[in-house]
Every structure is written in structure tokens, then in C-alpha cells.
């Protein structure tokens, strides 16, 4: 009982974090019909800044890191990316009123990763001086890419069966290169590379690091507005998408937390790392996932998967998920 109380008080503190507040502020603005807009180029620049900052920091820290410790979490990430989509295929995609392709694409998006959700969690952990291994953000592609591949594969198998034709060969290689070439992943990887190979300390300390929180707040505001604006699209699709969007992120996050806990016991994976692993799993892709799926599963209705991810999944993952895993880690590991 006391434990539960402590847990909820910890949870409450997290809610005053500015990142969450800006996200909810954006939703509030859109709900009130405000004419405030964040220009497209500013939004794009915010995303670039966050990813470059995450990459640079990771790259600089990895220089001294023991990368062998990364193997188990990377394997877990790949497993999670695949498992989330397969579970989604067997649950959401089979529900009445849910078009199978749409359900598969949605599961794919929830298996993939959101860089902004990850950034929120990193900002919160830094604020609270919680340590995590430098290479944790680099787990991103290990979960993101398999999830997208599995989703596209499952959709093709299903469509081939429907048409009674032989299924088209899924271009796994081209999905991988497309993902790596996406704006999000290529900024992250370039940052890692520059951090690893050059000396960006001064530009990192004078620019990317101090402005991180600020650009994150602008990004959250934009995403909040977007989440509210796209809610209307949800009206045209089955209610199950809302249910899935609300529950799946937390299920995925908790599952990842559990697997992360095992890695903690086995290889000493840090509590901060466990939190971030849960955040990555609980997040759903908002920038680079949708165009990949749109191109590869054109018959799936984007209103369904974008709506459930942007309007339900991401707010839940950020506003409930992130504080939840931190509070949980606090209870389990004592941060």
C-alpha cells in the first residue's frame, strides 16, 4: 500500500516535466482552435537537432564504451521489434471492423520507434541524473527496422493469399536501405559517426546540448497540435484503433521493461538503460515509419495507422509511458 502510494507520488512529479506539458499544451491549443502554427522548416530543424544531439552524445561516449555489453540488448530489441508486430497481426488485425492490411500496418508503426519519445525520456533521465549506457540510443534501428520489415512481409503474405496469387518477394534489402536513408535515421547515424570519429565537443557543448531541451519543447508542442488535429481522422476508422493505441504502448513498454530487467540481472544492463529500452518499445514511429509503410503497403489506409499512432499511441507513450517506467524503475531498482 505504502509502496503504491510512493509509486503514484513519483508518477505525479514526472507529470510536471516541461516536455509532457508542452505536448499537452499543443493539444490544448489545437482543441481551442488556436491559429498558432510552428512553421514546417522549424519543425524539421527541431527533429534534426534532437537526432544530431542524441547521435553526437552517443558517438562521443561510445569511444570508451564496452560494446560487447550491447549485444544482449540489441538482440532483445530485434526480438521486440518482431514480436510487437506479430502480436499486433494476431490481435488488432483480426478484430471485427479492422481491415487486415490496416491492422498490420498499425502494428508495424507501433513496433517501430519514435525519436521524439526517446528524446523526452533522455531529457527526463538527465534531469534526474539517472545513468544509462552511451550506446542505448543506438538500439533504435535494431528495433525499428525489423518491425517495419515484418509488417511489410506479413501484409504481403496476406494480400497474396487474398488475391490467390503468389506473393511478391519483399525487398528486405531495399526496406533496410530506405530506413537508413530516412531523415531520422541518417541524422542519428551521422551524429554517431561524427561523435565517434571527430572532436565535436565544442559545438556539442555550445549548441546541440544546451538547445536540446528548448527544441524538444517546440517539437512536443507541434506533436501535440498534430495529435489533436488528426483525432478527427480516427472517427472514420474502427474504435479498436483507439483501444489498441491506448493499451499497446504500455504493454510493449512493460514487456520491454521485463526483458530489460533480465538483461540487468544477466549482464548488468543499467536501470536507465532498462527505462530507455521500455520507452523505445513503447513508442510508435511518427516521422519515418509512415512513409515507408505507405510506399510498401499502399492499400493500407493511412488514416488508420497514422491516426492511432500520432493521436493516441504517441501521447500515451509520452505522457503515461515515460513517467511510468521511471517510477517503476525507481521502485524496482531504487534510482
Amino acid at each position: 500500500m505504502e509502496l503504491a502510494l510512493e509509486f503514484f507520488s513519483r508518477l505525479l512529479t514526472q507529470f510536471q516535466s516541461p516536455a509532457l506539458a508542452f505536448l499537452m499544451g499543443g493539444m490544448l491549443l489545437a482543441a481551442c482552435g488556436s491559429k498558432l502554427t510552428i512553421p514546417d522548416s522549424i519543425y524539421r530543424f527541431c527533429v534534426f537537432m534532437l537526432l544530431m544531439r542524441i547521435g553526437l552524445e552517443g558517438g562521443m561516449a561510445i569511444r570508451e564504451a564496452d560494446l560487447s555489453a550491447m549485444i544482449l540488448p540489441a538482440v532483445i530489441s530485434i526480438f521486440l521489434g518482431c514480436a510487437i508486430v506479430i502480436v499486433g497481426r494476431l490481435t488488432l488485425a483480426r478484430l471485427p471492423g479492422v481491415n487486415t492490411e490496416d491492422g498490420i500496418a498499425t502494428a508495424g508503426l507501433f513496433g517501430a520507434v519514435s525519436a521524439s519519445t526517446l528524446a523526452v525520456a533522455m531529457a527526463l533521465l538527465e534531469e534526474q541524473d539517472v545513468f544509462y549506457e552511451a550506446w542505448v540510443p543506438a538500439l533504435y534501428p535494431f528495433m525499428d527496422i525489423p518491425a517495419l520489415i515484418i509488417a511489410i512481409l506479413l501484409a504481403n503474405i496476406y494480400l497474396a493469399k487474398q488475391k490467390g496469387s503468389k506473393r511478391e518477394k519483399v525487398q528486405v534489402k531495399s526496406i533496410i536501405t530506405d530506413s537508413l536513408r530516412s531523415a531520422a535515421l541518417s541524422a542519428l547515424l551521422l551524429g554517431l559517426l561524427l561523435g565517434l570519429l571527430t572532436h565535436p565537443e565544442r559545438v556539442f557543448e555550445s549548441f546541440y546540448d544546451p538547445l536540446f531541451r528548448g527544441f524538444l519543447s517546440v517539437l512536443m508542442l507541434t506533436m501535440g497540435m498534430e495529435a489533436w488535429t488528426r483525432l478527427s481522422e480516427m472517427k472514420r476508422v474502427a474504435h479498436w484503433y483507439i483501444v489498441y493505441g491506448a493499451i499497446a504502448p504500455l504493454m510493449h513498454g512493460l514487456l520491454a521493461f521485463g526483458l530489460g530487467y533480465i538483461a540487468h540481472e544477466l549482464t548488468g544492463f543499467s536501470p536507465g538503460g532498462v527505462i530507455l529500452l521500455a520507452v523505445i518499445a513503447g513508442s510508435s514511429s511518427d516521422i519515418s515509419g509512415p512513409p515507408t509503410l505507405r510506399a510498401a503497403i499502399p492499400s493500407a489506409n493511412p488514416s488508420a495507422y497514422i491516426g492511432s499512432s500520432t493521436s493516441v499511441g504517441t501521447p500515451v507513450a509520452i505522457v503515461i509511458g515515460v513517467p511510468l517506467y521511471i517510477a517503476l524503475a525507481d521502485a524496482v531498482f531504487g534510482l
Binding site: D40, I42, S182, A183, I287, S288, P290, P291, R294, S299
Partner: protein, 111 residues
């Protein structure tokens, strides 16, 4: 200067398939095309300009191709419609125009 009849094909669709549409246009032998950003409303909801396009590739573009061959114009319009507009939102239409330098709009014979 002499003026000549030609046909303009206009395609308004999702930015995401711009590269594929451009490829189709070039394959049809057209020598060029013009692209402008666009927003709009159609059967699949409002697409806005100005506001942050949080998700890449979902805003509209307007693609215009002028060609001296009415046949090539028809082929482009038909192919785009058949190949893309079951799944992607978009419209296409044709207009008669009067061009100045005929050779700039002559069909390229594909190698």
C-alpha cells in the same frame, strides 16, 4: 514567332509518389515537367500547406507536363490514374495550350 498547339497534363497527388510519377513522365518521352507545392481538399480529407507537415510525404504536389503529342499526354494521364489512384489520393486533367518553341516539347524517342 510561330505558335503551336500542345497539351498540358496536370497531376495533383501526394508528394510521396512524386519520384515515381516523374519517372513515368520521363518514360513517356516528355522533355520536362514543373512541380509546385500544393494543399487541398478531396475525397480523402484536407491536406494543408504552411502548417508543419509532421509526417513526411503526405502533402500534395502539382505536376505539370506539356507535350506536343496529344497521345503521349493521354498516355501519361491514363497511366498515372491506373497505377496510382486506387491507393494514393490524386486527380489528373488535361488542358489545351499554345506553345512557342515546338522542339522543346517534341516527344523524345526512348533509347
Amino acid at each position: 514567332m510561330d505558335h503551336f498547339k500542345a497539351t498540358k497534363v496536370v497531376i495533383i497527388t501526394e508528394q510521396m509518389i512524386l519520384d515515381q510519377v516523374a519517372h513515368l513522365i520521363e518514360n513517356a518521352g516528355a522533355r520536362g515537367y514543373t512541380v509546385t507545392p500544393a494543399g487541398g481538399k478531396g475525397s480523402r480529407g484536407v491536406r494543408s500547406t504552411g502548417r508543419a507537415a509532421v509526417i513526411d510525404g503526405f502533402s500534395n504536389v502539382k505536376i505539370e507536363v506539356i507535350t506536343g503529342s496529344k497521345e503521349a499526354a493521354n498516355r501519361i494521364a491514363d497511366e498515372v490514374t491506373e497505377r496510382f489512384f486506387d491507393h494514393y489520393s490524386g486527380i489528373t486533367y488535361l488542358e489545351e495550350v499554345e506553345i512557342l518553341r515546338q522542339d522543346k516539347f517534341a516527344l523524345l524517342i526512348q533509347s
